[in-house]
Subunit: 393 residues, 5 copies
């Protein structure tokens, strides 16, 4: 009997039973390039560059995204991290703050990343600042934060441009839970198909979002008072979103949010939603037991890893990376290292960290990147290849 | 620690701390043609014509737009500025009022502009009135002021026609904040891509607009009473819009509105919106401190320049021009000169002034154009080129 | 100071100041074929045929439209005008009433028109009834009067068919103010571009229409009671519509409604709308003063001409014709003659009259056409050409 | 028994029997626009313009070609006819010689032609010199005189350009007898089809040419000595070429060379060729008897007309015009008048004269054009129309 | 009576009569930009840049071609002209010899040329060395010197690339006289049409060439012995080629070889060919009299100018430039100046000199360019513009 069956049978919550997580088990069930025979040779070559030639290597990855400023979050980011360590001449050459694309290039060029993410406009204008061999993920779509949000990304780039600019992959975002989900999935499927035809890795940002998740529409009581919501970063939604990206769309590499514990205010709404799902599908009830009995209780690192491993295992033939981790106390770099360890133990292939790295002065950012690299490249997380063509024999 | 970090750390507003703005710093971080290696040779040639061969030159620009009459504002403009100084023969040749296209041509032909903006219909019918060497920005889209506005521009022209008519650039407008934002960004991205393929400069009017900004939808209190709005010409929205045009779309030249102080009536709504953004993204709070403590307090020229410099720096690899400036008291031409000085000190490459110039009798308009030219072409705003091919060595 | 500036400065209405209208001035600023160098040679040839080879000539025009029965108004037209002067044999050959296409052909073949307008179906079935040399305007789109109207025309024909049937022009209708305005302008722009490529004159019916104009959306008071509307045939909307057709779309020939006085019931709503526009754009206030002080006061012929001249001058490089005129008392043919005189004095190139001519028995219709021709062809309205190729020298 | 049957039965030559040619008979069998119901309405309109609205009218035509200089004959033409009567200013405006396009325009604008012929390059550069209403035949193909000739025309223009430049017709040349005849006919058929689709009249220059006709390949005796040739301008070849243009290709208007008597040197070769044809098809022998018994004998005007009438009647549903006539002694203008009379009596719709008119000083050219017009417009050659739409009843 | 008529009537050769050449007359009949109304606005703008904004200006031009090395002549050019004035570092930066593209760029950037000519490969690789504002002629086709030559150019580039690289014009070569003449003219016509659609100037190298001209096919006597040839650079062929490029193809700018005297060895063949043409077309005989009576006699400068003026006047609406001039004794730069003066007096708009300039060390090349500029920019050769938009009034 598995651990989750135990939970369901005993109707106990994750914090009421003992846990014994084995890193080896989680890593063992993950995809190996040599077994991903379905990959077009070009996709394989590009994935190999990300997982074995650049960054921590050995089948793992650390990516640097820089698509926030040009869409979702806007340039307000810059305010936090002005660049103190720059000489006048450097300011001239590299911009004033660390969110300046010139500082990003400096980080990417020296920070041992497996690849970096840019939007079409930034690629056009700044690709020449980046080392040509480091894999570029051409983020083909973008989305603006505004009062009446579109609920679906704008496809602002093209596969042809991705090739022209030498990208190794295209990236795109789907919003399960959004009101335009039909168009969104069709849009995503088409981009992925076209990418595969020309040998590009397809990277999907699988982000649950939309009415019913982070807005307050249906989760009200009879008096119309807000009763909480299901949380886009819940285990249920991250688990589901990864499954869609992998099983429906065939993404090669999936970026997911970290599955966070349901906040106390939302617990009632979440449980109700899970209950309603379980009526049709009894095993759904497990999501409930995968939360701590008391919503205020913190999860242990083992519990976090177990939950994250479920998300990872929803995509047995896609590379899965996380864009963050659970909130942990302490020194920021130490926190990031711990979060990364949790993810890696869960079987993820790596992480993608933006503001936590480029939000620091460049030197500090490089130190943090090195620290995270150290975690990811630990031998226990290695995905060794044995095929002669990979090993040279 | 930077000025903005100081504001955030001390929770002080922009008018509560001392400011020391350096023009040299702002100009130093701006793009130079010789470093914009990503430009297709044709785009470079056309941009060079605008920034170095025509108008104030030395990497700066002053443009004359005349797309208002044929769409947005309608011909009602003409009423104000009838042409008193015309003989009967001139009326025959050049039209009755200064908003007549024939008078516009006279201004453009002699006013030392870097380029001018016309709509497709006017280009077809009147291009032959304009000196052939002055760069034309073919405004490919238009929008009509009517009770139920479209919220997205109509693409009324084509790239092929832009070429046929000898344009140096195409211009288009995006409306971040609009309800058709997805289609709008995709429309814009495609036009820009096609323009770049054929060597045309892509000019984007980045104008926040739409529900939540200038209408009264969600910014009401519980009783449904209007609590102000976020203001399309606020620092937040102009900053954001420029960032999108640059990083997501790769615009070569961005026309933005000047970032105005939040009006007292809107201050509460604006602060609330910023607060909500800061919950996800703490640095966003800076927008609040970049307003004066008391909404009624006027900003000094240094404060204006600092705020405008943020907007400019959101596009480190695009040319940025402003379509107006802060309201200042005094003689109109003197006001325009002061506004222009603020913009140039902020690091902008120049300005685009329509009604303030063509709204005057032609002779006066030429004088005003000369006065603005004098400001823009001051040595401290020069963007010198050093590459041999540019300098002749 | 011009008349309109005088109105604005003195805050007087059009009927409170003296008027001195000069036909010569209005005609002087109108386009001449020899100065319209932008016309493709084929467009020029077709326009020349309309303005100089057929109809009243000398650069003026009188058109016969017959697109009402096949779309907008339906066949109910026929009921009114049975044909009194027909023998049994003629009825057999030429139809029963004057709205029968055979009677239309008879009028067109002998009535000295500059051209005639038909829909694709009528062209296919009846083109062979018309003299082959008389210019045909192929009305490419149509619109049906029905409870839930489309708000945008259906493009029922093609440019290729227009050519096959020997048309000299294509005609199309735009509805500024309509809810599909984005698509409408893009549709129009494309048809016009394609027409120009193959030498066809592009004729635009510029008809304001839609929510906010002839429906009752926002012009209600707090209690939701109707407060009037802005009127599609107001000076504001006709002026604006002509400006769009010319400056944005590049129409060669624009058909506009006559700018009528605001009806007393609508005056309050109109003034309110103008006020709201004037807040952003002060010169807009002129529209208010261009109405009589008291909405019940009738306008004089001079006042009518001045208002109409504004509409005409919104298109300094397009031919402008009116589809009707102000309501005047008296004998219908005399009324038509007076209306035509007003339009011609305003500087219009001519008129397009349908029901007022084909609604009569054929003989009378021909007499009315002759009377209107006499007005239009008065020497003071001539647009003389001086180029050698036009004059034979 | 017909005249030709008489010739064949009696084995007499055309000059051995009496002839009674009736103009009325020849004209009676010619096509009338009202019976050419197969014409697309656009083709009809354009043909109407040529045959009734411009030039001699009444269904007849006189065209001015100017396609020689830009291809076939080259600019050497200019040498003969320098313009002595020009002032310095006129030279500036109208060129130096009568073969200058500016002088051609002067002739066309005032010479009462039914249309004129230009090549694409000249149309692009000089169309604006010509009255816009005079029908233009856009000569879509050209051919260069050079030692190794192509034997087939280069299609240098397009139907779309013909439309853009306002042409009423396209013109093209076929070379029956040429070595590329397969491609040539297919090329011609496609151009004609496309022209008809868009309402353009298709004019075919049907010119026999090529090996076996005007070169010396196959008409040698056993010793290889030249024995004459069949002559491209023989009755056989002109008759045949017109038949192909009409029956195979459906040309609307056919330009043919005048059928000249076989030259004495070629008579033997011609007779031999006809004999060989007659073996398969006995009636072919008539061509032999349609030559005078003695090759040195001159043909009378009646004999010329009879022979020309055969060529004309080979196209009972196409308009046929001749590009020259039999050599006649006397004053050039008188010769041209006589030649024209012969053609018109033969039933042709008219003529196309180039060098004989534009080779003269402009004033003289205009006089000659008037003289030819006088012949063509004689009442006996009128093609009256009786349909109501044509007559105005 | 004109000079040529005098020659023909008196049967005298050009050196047997007195000559009175007027520069003013030759310049007066040349095209002016303001009268070339047929130019698309984009073509006009690009032509204006070449004729008025760059190089000698005032409607004249001097171009620098560098398409020889990449096709026709091959890189053997480099051997002749090593670069003497270069330091070791400069050699490293700018290449070893003056035929190196880096030295060409140096010449173009500083030599006051109206434009320069490069092949697609050189443009892709070296466009960034050239000042962006100097007009580039994108030579779209090339031809290789090899034993079995193609006889028609290979179209190696595309219009889209010409635009991407910011070209002002496309250049192409036709070979009248070539065995692929049909395909060649059709190829040229299509490229020119497409260029015009997108506002590019169409430059045609009109170079007679092929069997019968520079090979020895039909110009043999009965015994098969070579009797000379007609010479591709003869007056007949240069005159004809320019006429084709202009009248058939509509080239905006025509590059022709200079019309050289027939060499004594070819005189007999040339005269025979002219005689054969004159049989069909009597005025052709003039070509014979335009040679000196005795083939050995040198032509005077006046005789040269007269002959060249005929070539120029074959294109009354195209700009005509020469690629060389008559052989003259003396210092090379002085020779070039004299040749240029002859051409300019003949009414040509300018010249295009390659090896005579880039074949020298850079400094000397610049001096020679300056000397030629001085000749071309003499006031008597100016083409003044009078339209307000050109003059600023």
């Amino acid at each position: 009997m598995t651990f989750i069956q135990t939970l369901m049978n005993s109707k106990k919550h994750i914090d009421e039973v003992d846990l014994d997580i084995s890193v080896a088990d989680n890593v063992a069930v993950r995809p190996r390039l040599e077994r991903m025979r379905f990959l077009e040779a070009g996709v394989e070559a590009n994935l190999y560059r990300m997982l074995y030639s650049h960054g921590p290597g050995n089948g793992t990855a650390l990516f640097m995204p820089f698509d926030q400023k040009s869409s979702e979050h806007g340039p307000g980011h810059e305010f936090l991290w002005e660049r103190d360590d720059a000489t006048a001449e450097e300011i001239n050459l590299k911009g004033k703050g660390s969110a300046d694309i010139r500082a990003i290039a400096e980080l990417v060029n020296s920070g041992n990343f497996s690849g970096y993410v840019l939007h079409p406009g930034n690629i056009r204008q700044s690709k020449h600042l980046f080392r040509p061999d480091i894999p570029l993920i051409y983020k083909i779509d973008g989305h603006i934060t505004q009062p009446l949000s579109a609920g679906i990304m704008s496809t602002a780039g093209t596969i042809e441009d991705a090739l022209k600019y030498g990208a190794s992959a295209i990236g795109l975002t789907i919003y399960p839970g959004g009101e335009h989900i039909k168009a969104d999935l069709e849009r995503a499927a088409e981009i992925i198909r076209e990418a595969h035809k020309v040998g590009l890795v397809a990277v999907v940002w699988a982000y649950a979002r939309g009415p019913g998740l982070d807005e307050k529409i249906q989760l009200k009581d009879k008096n119309g008072e807000f009763q909480g919501m299901t949380q886009a970063d819940s285990l249920y939604w991250t688990h589901y979103a990864v499954s869609i990206a992998s099983g429906l769309l065939g993404a090669d590499l999936i970026k997911t949010k970290y599955p966070l514990k349901i906040k106390p205010d939302n617990r009632r709404a979440y449980d109700a939603y899970i209950d309603s799902l379980a009526k049709k599908n009894s095993s759904m009830i497990a999501y409930k037991y995968l939360e701590p009995k008391d919503a205020e209780t913190a999860l242990t690192m083992e519990q976090e890893s177990l939950r994250a491993s479920l998300v990872v295992q929803a995509a047995p033939y896609s590379i899965v990376i996380f864009s963050g981790g659970p909130k942990l106390p302490g020194n920021p770099t130490e926190t990031l290292k711990k979060q990364t360890e949790i993810l890696m133990k869960a079987g993820a292939e790596g992480a993608i960290y933006g503001r936590n790295i480029w939000g620091l002065p460049v030197k500090e950012g490089l130190e943090t990147a090195r620290a995270v690299n150290d975690v990811i490249s630990m031998p226990e997380f290695h995905r060794k290849l044995t095929e002669p063509r990979f090993t040279g024999y």
